[in-house]
Symmetry: C2
Subunit: 467 residues, 2 copies
Amino acid sequence: MRGVAGIVGGGVIGGAWAARFSLMGWDVRLYDPDPEAERKMAAVLANARHALPMLYDVALPAPGAITHVATVAEAVSGADWIQESAPERLDLKLKLLREIEAAAGAETPIGSSTSGFKPSELQEGAAHPGRILVAHPFNPVYLIPVVELVGGDGPTLARAEDILRGIGMRPLRIRKEIDAHVADRFLEAVWREALWLVKDGIATTEEIDDVIRYGFGLRWAQMGLFETYRIAGGEAGMRHFLAQFGPALKWPWTKLMDVPELTDELAGMIADQSDAQSGHLSIRELERLRDGNLVAILRALKARGAAAGALLNAHEATLRRAPAEGPPMETGRRIVPVDWTDYNGHMNESRYGQVYSDAGDVVMAHVGADAAYIASGLSYFTVETQVKFLAETKAGEAIRVTSRVLEGAGKKLRLFHEMRREADDALLSTCDQMLIHVSLETRRSCPPSAEVLARVEALAAAHGAKP
Amino acid sequence: MRGVAGIVGGGVIGGAWAARFSLMGWDVRLYDPDPEAERKMAAVLANARHALPMLYDVALPAPGAITHVATVAEAVSGADWIQESAPERLDLKLKLLREIEAAAGAETPIGSSTSGFKPSELQEGAAHPGRILVAHPFNPVYLIPVVELVGGDGPTLARAEDILRGIGMRPLRIRKEIDAHVADRFLEAVWREALWLVKDGIATTEEIDDVIRYGFGLRWAQMGLFETYRIAGGEAGMRHFLAQFGPALKWPWTKLMDVPELTDELAGMIADQSDAQSGHLSIRELERLRDGNLVAILRALKARGAAAGALLNAHEATLRRAPAEGPPMETGRRIVPVDWTDYNGHMNESRYGQVYSDAGDVVMAHVGADAAYIASGLSYFTVETQVKFLAETKAGEAIRVTSRVLEGAGKKLRLFHEMRREADDALLSTCDQMLIHVSLETRRSCPPSAEVLARVEALAAAHGAKP
């Protein structure tokens, strides 16, 4: 479903919520009393517009409008989803929630981005407390999929899950409300330990970051904590691992029994070390680096169908549309992702091959040589391609691929693809692709099924020769 | 440098050390009294041999031999690096370290994989305490690059860093010894918190893993903790972020002031949840999934030149060799990585393009159109490729590419590449690649420098026509 999102509070988090909803085709009405709100929203949206579409190998829906409005009521009345991301002050949040309730539809979920308050605190004095829930996201909201859901009645939670999945997120119901929900408890525990390590001169901020990103951060991006330890336990299993690990819990390994005083001196030490580590880059530059890295990691997991990449594949499947028969058939519309460019600053030649391989897959699926057909032991293999590179294209540019079936007879299938830039319709490249139908058992050529052959022949007759 | 590694203790950690050294061309002598040691080592080596070479876009050196020996002395005498990975019992480790010292060269670094003991504890009674240091790695040692170095005198640490960098790792000196070094303090803090969350029924093991891998795990794989928070602080900077975060440290967010009792009941609850989450997969299958995901994430970071990927690029540069002039020139030797295969189970056609693009780069660098030349504003762009796909190749197979300069005159450079499988020398594919010399300023064709042109012409004269 797509609809209208009412966003109350448009800072780093609220603005990124607005960007994600808009880029997934929702209209957004944004309320933020900050006179700088429009400028800040534009900066977040620029980052989001650059990065989010790169996660998908298909075009996203046309983006919805983001309208800045002057009152809470304008933002939320008639909205299908409401998200409050005001500063972490309970009195302020309660005041806004009462204003939201007064103007919102009675069954509209009202999510709060709070990390510090429990839903029972937010629901105090509400007319319909069950529709108020914590929907706690992670920065950058337009790339990180998980959202912790806490509180809310059954119907509200079900609606919330539907809506959040629809914009590509991974809603996760927390079973009981506790302070800080789940993820922030880990982050808080790690943060306290990190403060001790810096304070005691054991490691600098940069060394701590390196221990994480060259170490367990790589593990956690794909398996998390328990599955990683399950493997560490080996064949003897999780019980064995726990038995080994048990005594260590009593060791004086962490200083977390105690909280370090965040004196000016300690704060200064951390800020100085952080400047030495990252001060040569502006926050905008760091954001771009972070987003590019996240896109590349998420796309790597997507190619594997693993962890957050499995989620992307499932969401992408909902965005794919069957192509019209043409000629020519539209067999691809997408953004050039940041991991496709090379040292010349343009899309690497091998990725043209990727685009055409994907376009060929669309034609195959269209004639019935789809996943089920391949699972039955039959497929088409490419035997030759001839690619002409006519103009460059860069990361972030929208491209469109159209395809014609030039020949379709017996085991042969010959396609001709054209790739154009959306912005000016410039022809970037062409590809002449010859495929042969094969048995996946013998790995040798064989005739296609009668149905597939009939559809291939019909397309060839309709499409004819190269343009 | 390459040399001989003496590995004492060949379990999950010691075996993976042996595998990494061997795959980087070191000879390994392994001592482990476990009668199952050879079988276990073979299993670890199979995983490592499959995964580690996929991280590199060049062939690794020929692997060194792994020899199982019957005594500590045989393992360590004459070794250039010694690594102890015995079970975590101080009396056992001290006994082994004394045996190692008696047989090892006086200046050979002796690393211990211990997570539980400090170097001062391991050095007790040593003849040369300064050469004993903690070298604490992370599972799987053949893929995760970081190694915490603690203790050891200056020359030992410098040698250790050289050797560990040489096998592709990221040694990180910890400034003072403390219990559990650095990374395990974080892991311990998170683990305790996770136990509380499961015990109190807030989230299951799977939900906790999902919060991490769909959430902050993605951030930590590329930036770690402090740089992530630096961005969260926005333009106001790290001091502002700390000022905001400060009060939260006093909130009762974590239960870590207290340690949960790891009763049989809690251990059973965790083991049951872990079985429900991952029990449909064997540990071997989980290891393969983990390794494939890590390879894909690391390769994604490598393409970005970011975090652990920057390390891989730097290490790979040390492994590249200039090609002989031929004909034909050898322009590629590598393993097909796991992220290059598609639903047909073989290398996707677009990756053939990658192989040829890389081979073209090798020829370009050879004629002087290298990184410095490109930085000066000149390069060759591919304008047309014709690829023939003759046979399939699968992830893990070793391939070799040879290239000929068919034409080299004026702005034109025409290459012909052949890709063969190493195992049987089967011709897998060919590529006819036409390039045009361009100015990166005007993005239009222009003549190459006289030096580059002369080398291109000489190669074309020597290489002649297609084979």
